[in-house]
């Protein structure tokens, strides 16, 4: 998602676009953090969220399946463990059971993917 967020001071170079499978995710290491990055190629969109699933504290969201739901086609990721789903835009848990996950802005330039970190 190429959103302009004024508070972003730091665009961190995560990887090359072809490092992340089409319509799937991969995990990026940023300092001591793990960030899940999603290449929603069907929509030509990119998203990034925390890699930790809040349900059972598993570092696995990057291995989850993405898709969308509802008339608004809200993009989402499903955790591979117990299939809790989270909005890729707001991070909100769509099964309304877990707390929201953190999302990050992403931009793509010249075949490189950048994640906005504070």
């Amino acid at each position: 998602m190429e959103t302009e967020v004024s508070t972003i001071i730091n665009w961190f170079l995560a990887c090359a676009t072809n490092d992340v499978p089409e319509n799937g995710g991969a995990c990026v290491k940023y300092r001591d953090e793990q960030i899940a990055i999603f290449n929603f190629s069907r929509r030509k969109e990119w998203y990034a969220t925390q890699n930790l699933c809040p349900h059972k504290q598993q570092m696995v969201l990057s291995r989850g399946m993405i898709g969308s739901t509802g008339d608004a086609m809200e993009p989402k990721v499903a955790c591979p463990f117990h299939k809790k789903t989270f909005s890729l835009i707001t991070g909100e848990c769509l099964n309304a059971e877990e707390c929201a996950i953190k999302t990050y802005p992403v931009k793509v330039q010249d075949g490189r993917v950048y994640i906005g970190v504070e």
């Binding site: 499978p21 290491k29 990055i37 598993q58 989850g64 399946m65 969308s68 739901t69 993009p75 989402k76």
Partner: protein, 835 residues
């Protein structure tokens, strides 16, 4: 409490299940009364029927029948921990223990019953309990912590439930002591009792019949039970469940008529001998009978209420059919269960091997079902009960009701719809069939949950839920609503339709399918479903489209707690060479993996880092091993017993046949996983009848069974063909498997698939053996294609650097493993850290 001018007062004594139901029904009809309730127990009315669930983690709050503010919201005055001690009939007044005195216009006695405690010396000792209230359970729990041997006095419905509770409380040795010569003497006959006893023994319950307890021995605490026959049973805990005693003491004191053996006498209006006083529930004696179940109690509440509101509803007895819950063995009795020949014709089916006993009593003209007993398998209970209660005319061969393949006979669905509108579906809440159908027809309800909300049906004991489900589906079908089994919001097709379309359009990728046949971006439901269809149709390498696979298929390994993976090499038929064993051991050591023999006769290596998977597989493959597809919806194991090569009973070489079968079907993707077994003789050491397809050697060849299932709802496989040779067996299997792959819904095991199939086993037999659809040859060719395109996915990955790259944790630090993975030591190995 505000009493309006002219407002009448109803006082309810007893805040148990039936007293509560009375209040609930009353406030729903009218708020014009001033309603006051006295309860002796310290808490709001709770679900006594599910009391035992208190030991399985339910709290008192979970069991409560109402929300905390319910009484207040409905302007009901509730006094708890305050039993009524005196009723003055002349003044129409009650006095409570806390000193409250109030006048009533109508009085409703719902005092229930207490446990009947026989007068045996020593009954007062510490460690002797009854099983009725939450307080009883709390005391039992505290005592059980320090007890080893426990017994229940009484082998009736409640006694067995109490015994199960003792097992759940961790009592090592649990006994049931019954005075009568059989268990559940009110519900089942002695043949049934014998079988039940064997079943209970398997659960760890020791049953002693014909035992008359003479003394509860010990000092201050109970130490043993002594019996009239001079025997003794050492125990440190006893639960008395010798029957119930109606709580009529208050009524008796007031001068109301009571029965000689207890109970407050009522007429069909639920009126006691004083016209302003009603009695309902377990304290009421109607026609010389105490009804110790909730459903009749609720009916009594309805009648009393109707009478007070000047209606004409009356009580004329109630069906006492019951199904035992919780114990782990199905037991049910219905209608006239004990009637015998010559007053009826009785059909008995008994299978001591499987532990099933069924008896039905039929009218002499063969037309009607009168009652019966079911033990070991009570699936048919609801339908049989309906058949009795609605006097449905029986089919020409009534034995079909309890015999025969209860696979997926279409009769079940049809049967429900043939019930009359007045059929009582939910007896706890008194909901008729018509109410459920109306909810579907008029309110647009389409689910069991919807029915529960709309009609309350199914919210009591829950026994009728399967019937409700069939009714909802049946009604919708009748309305011409085509109940379409669509995959998800992105595809308006069933799996089978989608499979046909995908083949027709020669669709090879998910994206193409979505563009052509679906909408939106897909989701975690349709992606793996389409992936499975694509494999079933083309058998391409699944990891080429890795992001539409479920996690396990995406990384060709099962994901574990903590984010590591497991590795299961194929060990066809369970046969493994010493060399292969050594390599497995070496690999496990090198990569710090936990090893375990699985329930499927092979070896699982747990705790592998994502990054290590290709290396691990490379080493296993160098030693000749291949993927076991433990992660896929595909063939798992063909379990074998050692068979005729070593076993003195074996009639054929079951190991060789198992290996042949396993290698034949390995890797083929299906709607759900597939398991198989081959046994060398009828002793069945390979448990073939628990499998999706199972083969048992006979003197003349093989018997082929299909559609068995373990898991949470186990079901035995059914015989498809007997005494066939290996070639025929394989031919049938080819057809069977391909038919399943093509027609089952996503994630539906073969057993469920068969259960849903119209025509059930006889239909399946026709398709597979008699080729009734004329597709046998096609099925054989299709599966041939799948077999000939087999590839070990792991060898493709190991040999392809591009594919190997997918197995990294960090894209920007491929060498680094997930630093959050953590292990703990366990015996001589490691385990995943607790979450």
């Amino acid at each position: 409490m505000k009493t309006g001018p002219g407002q009448q007062t109803i006082i309810v004594i007893g805040n148990g299940m039936v007293g509560y139901k009375f209040c609930e029904k009353l406030v729903k009809k009218t708020k014009s009364f001033n309603l006051i309730v006295f309860g002796e127990e310290p808490r709001r009315a709770y679900d006594r029927v599910h009391l035992s669930e208190y030991f399985n983690g339910k709290t008192a709050d979970d069991l409560s029948l109402s929300a905390e503010n319910w009484y207040e919201e409905n302007s009901i005055t509730l006094y708890l921990s305050d039993p009524v001690q005196e009723i003055n009939l002349a003044e129409k007044k009650v006095h409570s223990r806390n000193g409250i005195s109030l006048n009533y216009d109508y009085l409703v006695l719902a005092t229930g019953s207490g446990a009947f405690v026989p007068n045996i010396p020593g009954i007062e000792k510490e460690g002797v309990f009854v099983y009725r209230t939450i307080e009883d359970l709390e005391m039992m729990k505290a005592h059980a912590a320090k007890s080893k041997n426990g017994a229940v006095m009484g082998g009736g419905l409640l006694g067995l439930e109490a015994a199960k509770a003792l097992l759940d409380l961790g009592i090592q040795e649990t006994h049931v002591v019954e005075f009568a010569p059989r268990l559940m003497p009110r519900q089942i006959d002695s043949a049934g009792s014998n079988l039940l006893q064997t079943k209970l023994k398997e659960l760890g319950l020791n049953v002693h019949l014909n035992k008359n307890t003479s003394e509860i021995a010990g000092g201050h605490k109970i130490e043993s039970l002594k019996f009239n026959d001079e025997t003794e049973l050492k125990i440190d805990m006893l639960v008395i469940s010798a029957g119930i005693r109606p709580r009529d003491e208050l009524a008796k004191l007031a001068g109301l008529q009571t029965g000689t053996r207890g109970g407050i006498m009522v007429n069909e209006k639920m009126q006691t001998s004083n016209e302003f006083v009603y009695a309902i529930g377990e304290c009421a004696l109607y026609d010389n009978m105490i009804y110790g179940l909730v459903a009749p109690g609720y009916e009594m509440a309805e009648v009393a209420l109707n009478q007070i509101l000047a209606g004409e509803k009356a009580f004329y007895g109630f069906d006492m059919s019951t199904k035992l819950k919780l114990i782990g063995v199905d037991v049910a009795s219905f209608g006239d269960n004990f009637i015998t020949e010559p007053d009826c014709r009785t059909i008995v089916f008994e299978d001591t091997h499987k532990g099933v006993y069924k008896r039905i009593n039929i009218s002499n003209d063969g037309k009607y079902l009168l009652g019966g007993i079911l033990i070991g398998d009570a699936d048919a209970y609801n339908m049989l009960l309906q058949t009795v209660n609605n006097k449905l005319v029986l089919p020409p061969n009534p034995e079909d009701l309890i015999l025969g393949a209860r696979g997926g006979e279409a009769s079940e669905g049809a049967g429900v719809m043939s019930l009359p509108d007045t059929a009582l579906i939910c007896s706890c809440e008194a909901v008729l069939k018509s109410a459920i159908c109306d909810a579907v027809n008029l309110e647009g309800v389409t689910s069991v949950d919807g029915i529960k909300k709309c009609t309350k049906a199914g919210t009591g004991c829950g026994g009728c839920v399967p019937l409700i489900k069939d009714l909802v589906v049946g009604t919708m079908k009748e309305n011409g609503v085509y109940i379409k089994n669509v995959i998800c919001e992105h595809f308006d097709y069933s799996r089978q339709e989608l499979l046909d379309l995908i083949k027709l359009h020669k669709i090879k990728t998910y994206d193409h399918a979505l563009d052509l046949l679906g909408r939106g971006d897909g989701c975690e439901v349709c992606k793996p479903a389409v992936a499975s269809i694509l494999s079933g149709a083309w058998n391409d390498l699944i990891i080429k489209q890795d992001t539409i696979q479920d996690s396990n298929d995406r990384f060709l390994a099962n994901i574990q707690k903590g984010g590591t993976y497991s590795v299961v090499p194929r060990i066809a038929g369970g046969e493994i060479s010493p060399d292969a064993l050594i390599v497995i051991g070496q690999v496990a050591k090198k990569y710090n993996l936990y090893t375990k023999i699985t329930g499927g006769q092979r070896i699982d290596l747990f705790g592998a880092h994502l990054n290590d998977l290709p290396d691990i597989w490379e080493e296993l493959m160098d030693a000749g091993m291949e993927s076991g597809h433990a992660y896929g919806k595909s063939l798992r194991t063909v379990k074998s017993c050692v068979g005729s090569t070593w076993c003195r009973f074996g009639v054929h070489d079951s190991v060789s046949f198992a290996i042949q079968i396993e290698n034949r079907y390995k890797g083929i993707r299906s709607p759900h996983k597939l398991k198989s077994g081959v046994s060398g003789c009828v002793r069945e050491c390979a448990e073939a009848q628990a499998k999706d397809f199972g083969i048992i050697a006979t003197e003349k060849g093989w018997n082929l069974y299909v559609c068995g299932n373990g898991g949470s709802k186990p079901q035995h496989a059914q015989l498809l063909a007997s005494d066939i040779d290996s070639e025929t067996c394989i031919k049938y299997l080819d057809r069977f498997l391909m038919f399943y792959i093509k027609t089952a819904d996503p994630l539906t095991r073969t057993a469920t698939w068969l259960n849903k199939m119209d025509g059930g086993m006889s239909y399946l037999k026709n398709v597979i053996i008699n080729d009734s659809l004329g597709i046998a040859q096609q099925l054989e060719e299709e599966i041939q294609h799948l077999m000939s395109t087999y590839h070990c996915e792991w060898s493709e990955v190991v040999n392809d650097p591009q594919l190997r790259k997918k197995f990294t944790h960090f894209v920007n630090a491929p060498e680094e493993k997930d630093p959050t993975v953590a292990f703990e030591p366990l015996r001589d190995q490691v385990r995943a850290k607790e979450w």
